[in-house]
């Protein structure tokens, strides 16, 4: 599936800068999360710069999806496959810097105007859309009923457990990993 980068501690400031600039440019477009930028990332990093190959690009996303933490960390993995630890850090700084600054400024602007009708309407109007978007993310990750019926069964069971009980989520993940490794899912 994947290979190690040349060396995790490779010294490559020029590649780090290239990664930083690309992710800096992508960041303000990441409405709905960094995952929506994947096609453009592929165009820039794989097709244009040739910094990593298709296999590494795809496994960056799959591994980050399966590992704990925010999904945006797939950006760190792309940087890591391209240019080691320095590449991971510079990529993360690039993707985070513009969006965090903007998010903080915008949320402060909104919170000082909580009593404005337009702000209340904005928040109320987005609430159902947010719920729908989350459902769509769950839908996207769901195993297909035709090829992975038992996987789908596992998903449905987990959904019911999370909804109706207070079982620790980490046990569900551990259970899923064991069932998957045994070939049951």
């Amino acid at each position: 599936m994947t290979a190690l980068p040349v060396s995790p501690w490779v010294w490559a400031p020029e590649i780090w800068w290239t990664l930083f600039v690309h992710f800096l440019a992508l960041s303000p477009m990441a409405v709905g999360g960094a995952i929506t930028l994947v096609p453009d990332m592929h165009r820039r990093l794989v097709a244009q710069e040739g910094l990593l190959d298709d296999a590494d690009f795809t496994s960056s996303i799959a591994l980050a999806q399966a590992a704990p933490g925010p999904n945006v960390l797939f950006v760190a993995l792309m940087g890591w496959y391209s240019a080691g630890v320095g590449g991971a850090v510079s990529s993360m700084l690039g993707i985070m810097l513009p969006s965090t600054t903007l998010a903080l400024a915008a949320s402060r602007w909104v919170s000082t105007r909580r009593d404005w009708l337009s702000v209340q309407a904005f928040q109320a109007g987005l609430m159902p859309v947010t719920v729908g978007l989350l459902l769509a993310t769950g839908w996207h990750l769901m195993p297909s009923a035709t090829t992975q019926a038992r996987g789908l069964l596992l998903s449905v069971a987990v959904a019911l457990l999370v909804w109706r009980t207070r079982v620790r989520l980490i046990w569900l993940v551990a259970g899923g990993a064991v069932l998957g490794a045994l070939g049951w899912v």
């Binding site: 399966a66 991971a88 947010t130 490794a181 899912v185």
Partner: protein, 204 residues
């Protein structure tokens, strides 16, 4: 964990220190497989009681329309709410630093394990099991978070229909997110505005 109640929200708690904030976000990020939103809701709303479900969906809605990873925007806003910009940076660092170190180590291990056929088999199987669980976690969390829709200004049925329309447009029709946010989201905002205007300022 000190649970200091505030005057205006007696039912809710707040983090006692920046360190507590950092550790809380590190801990929830490290438990969040296949996305952090499910764990964030569990930890912040139910276990620590720093936010209620309405706050959580509201902040998530703001985080969603702004560029940037949703959960990172969410951690910035929650940190900022309790400790200003320092809190925002500390919460974000908690969300990103430890998981990033762990992920790079996992990537190195997986690359080694993947060399042997048995290792490859086990790794790929475990990954697909975890993905199935992650999908279920998100759906279960949505079912919980949908509770505030019952008291929505547009009414329970219209707001549920809006949520399902969003699902339809994104999951089946594969419409670009930006269009859905601007189109359906804009429509929902204008509609809410008209309803709010009618209820808050009735004609004399």
């Amino acid at each position: 964990m000190p649970e200091v109640a505030t005057a205006d929200r007696p039912a809710l708690a707040r983090p006692g220190s920046l360190l507590e904030l950092f550790l809380a976000f590190t801990s929830l990020a490290l438990q969040g497989f296949g996305g952090v939103i499910a764990v964030a809701q569990r930890e912040l709303c139910e276990r620590r009681r720093w936010l209620d479900a309405r706050d959580f969906v509201g902040l998530l809605g703001n985080a969603q329309v702004l560029p940037g990873p949703n959960v990172c925007n969410l951690s910035l806003m929650i940190g900022d709410r309790f400790f200003g910009w320092r809190g925002a940076l500390v919460a974000l660092a908690g969300m990103v630093v430890a998981p990033m170190v762990l992920l790079l180590m996992i990537a190195a291990l997986v690359a080694h394990a993947d060399q042997s056929p048995l290792g490859h088999h086990l790794v790929q199987g475990a990954l697909s099991g975890i993905t199935a669980v992650a999908a279920g976690q998100i759906v279960g969390t949505v079912l919980k978070l949908a509770a505030p829709l019952k008291e929505h200004v547009l009414g329970a049925l219209p707001s549920t229909v809006l949520a399902l329309l969003t699902l339809l447009m994104i999951a089946w029709l594969h419409w670009p997110l930006l269009w859905v946010l601007l189109g359906l989201g804009g429509l929902a905002c204008v509609w809410s505005w008209r309803v709010l205007q009618r209820t808050q300022a009735p004609p004399p």
